[in-house]
Symmetry: C2
Amino acid sequence: MEFSKEINVAIVGYGVVGNGVAKILEEEKELILKRSGIKINLKKVFTRNWNKKFPYPLPDEKKAYSLDEILDDKDIDIVVELVGGLDFPYKLIKECINRGKHIITANKHLLAEKGKEIFTLAEEKNIRIGFEGAVAGGIPIIKALRESLVGNRIEKIYGILNGTTNYILTEMYGKGKNFNEVLKEAQELGYAEADPTLDINGVDAGHKIAILASLSYGGFLNFSDVYIEGIEDIEKIDIQLGKELGYTLKLLAIAKGYKNNEVEVRVHPTFIPSEHPLAKVDGVFNAIMIKGNNVGESMFYGKGAGSLPTASAVVSDIVDIAKSISLGIGREIEITSMNWEHKDLNLKKVSDFYTRYYIRFMVPDTVGILSKIAGIFAEYNISIAAVIQKEKVVGLYNGANSSDFIPLVLLTHTASENSIQKAIEKVESSNLTKGKAKVIRVEDEEE
Amino acid sequence: MEFSKEINVAIVGYGVVGNGVAKILEEEKELILKRSGIKINLKKVFTRNWNKKFPYPLPDEKKAYSLDEILDDKDIDIVVELVGGLDFPYKLIKECINRGKHIITANKHLLAEKGKEIFTLAEEKNIRIGFEGAVAGGIPIIKALRESLVGNRIEKIYGILNGTTNYILTEMYGKGKNFNEVLKEAQELGYAEADPTLDINGVDAGHKIAILASLSYGGFLNFSDVYIEGIEDIEKIDIQLGKELGYTLKLLAIAKGYKNNEVEVRVHPTFIPSEHPLAKVDGVFNAIMIKGNNVGESMFYGKGAGSLPTASAVVSDIVDIAKSISLGIGREIEITSMNWEHKDLNLKKVSDFYTRYYIRFMVPDTVGILSKIAGIFAEYNISIAAVIQKEKVVGLYNGANSSDFIPLVLLTHTASENSIQKAIEKVESSNLTKGKAKVIRVEDEEE
């Protein structure tokens, strides 16, 4: 067994997280050495343009001006990929793996879409891929799933995995503001990017839950089959009406396991009971709830993004991998691999989802409408748990002439997506209502 | 490097947690093998009396009738100590370590009081001690501190580490009940033991925070120096008045790090802002908040006790250690040892605590009292943030003739315990008030 107590690390991509990683590695070098017995040496950092100003400036000898300075350096054991994007980091990581370098990445997009190829190659080459920073920044959810919950079947893993959308929904809920108004404020405050598309449309949360589902259920999945719905069409009226019913609206990412390797993975605006711990997660924070058959429900809460929280996660991977390198060990020390079932996950189709629903119709204020609509739901065996019918409230909801119509909300018991869609279709085609129904799924376990 | 893919485990003590561990090891054997590649064989279990009925009955060949059956068996690599108590498990663990067996224990009492001896011996013998189950049951806080937060200086770690007292305080807060009333109910519901002393008086939470403090700050401490106050004297009036000020009462265990290896460790009833995530942790749940210099604030929430949640933690230690045994590795794989600073912690004295205070006096309903009391606090440079003076409310508080007196509550800004105690002494000796003041510390960071 060969001991080499100094481990050399390189970073590719020197943005927000990269600067944080360099800062921690330099400033906490002594702390890390005292705790782990390992000396981490940040040997080289590559970025395309060193002429910019950086939050954590580096001395010249650490600056790499070509990737080859890192790839060809046999003393560099670990490469931290923090470039973002898809094609370039994919090629880079493959090249590093082929050259025997361990990888750490915070690139959820890449892992969600190319995880199978990357992890399969890494397995062949006995290379470790650390990705604690890819999901929920500073929350150590990857380690918890891989190691702490090894004796649990994960029945369900769900949570708030995107801080931007949680900030927007928190403001809409707390202050009764409109989506566009809050989005603009969030951009001014730096909580939303100039182009917030991947946050708002749910894809970012989708990438993260796809990674968590693979780890929880032990197989890769086809990312384009994940059901994703964003918050761009959320109106404040539904947040308000949900509140009256005792629910809080969150953009939840959900994965549930069933028999025969079948897994349900979805991201969509979701009503959860206002007393649920996730309902109380406000602002840019992230939180993940896991239900294991033995441990019961656990929640992990913290900062899901930002330079130092994410860098803290990357550094924990660096030390983990450095420690095993110093003991002459590769992948074989890992407790749970990404595909421990050794077969792909079988994703449930949307039409087979089975949950509770909040459905808002806009109806004319005339006698008998509720009974007709309820009749149609009964035809499809959908049981109604609660109803709200509101008097005219001008300005509470969008839409021209809306004051001629009033909102009618049905909260159903558990029903299949398929029957819900059919019932709504029938209501809509019967000319009882105006415009399209607003459907929001409700996550609230019934006995 | 020697690979032996089947690792033999023994359990000593077959109570609630022991039964849970056996159940998970047997029923999830395949899951654990698939995930980790390791076959865990529960070889022997020792308990004093096999004639009882057990929730998870074992076949005869797994029953040990003497400890020697386990100690003398060279094929047993890991011993899980679940006996409880102090002297017997201490001797057992030392004997196991001397015989080269790795240890897993959920015995917080033992680790808090004899940790130094045990970990020092384990270090000498290259033996691992797993104790994830000793603190907050199913919450993987030990692994988070050891591994996930390796690149962080822990500024503060605090939380709700005892489910019994949290259940009692939750009921008192939510339903306005008295301590004794709720304690009785908790015992009937099985949330409090027949002898709940160590829960109620804060010592159980003290054991746990002592362990977390060692890990966070890297040294052992003298447990008898930890400041511990229980909830036995909490009156509902203070919970109600605190609520009016925007605070929720919790039994918090708190550790904070200062310069020069100085650490503050304390357990006491504590007011926290009702919007704080810990304030919303209700009933028997546990939660721990960690503030790291890089990761910011993270919270871990889950079941702090119970057969399967604690067993889930014990099993994660078993798999961790089994995995390293299979790779021929001992303690050297651990990232953070219990005493990574290699010197004992220097515990701050109570009189040097520096925090905010809620102080309730009972005063006669006459003019000028508030100004006199406020004057005394000003003498000691204690700044008052808020005052509540209540009209007579018969029955809201305990004490004979109490209706002749009214509660006067001062909420201070940050002050030293020393000056607070002196000011209270002066107020009490001035005959302005009736009986002893009620002092509750407030954890609410000020700018």
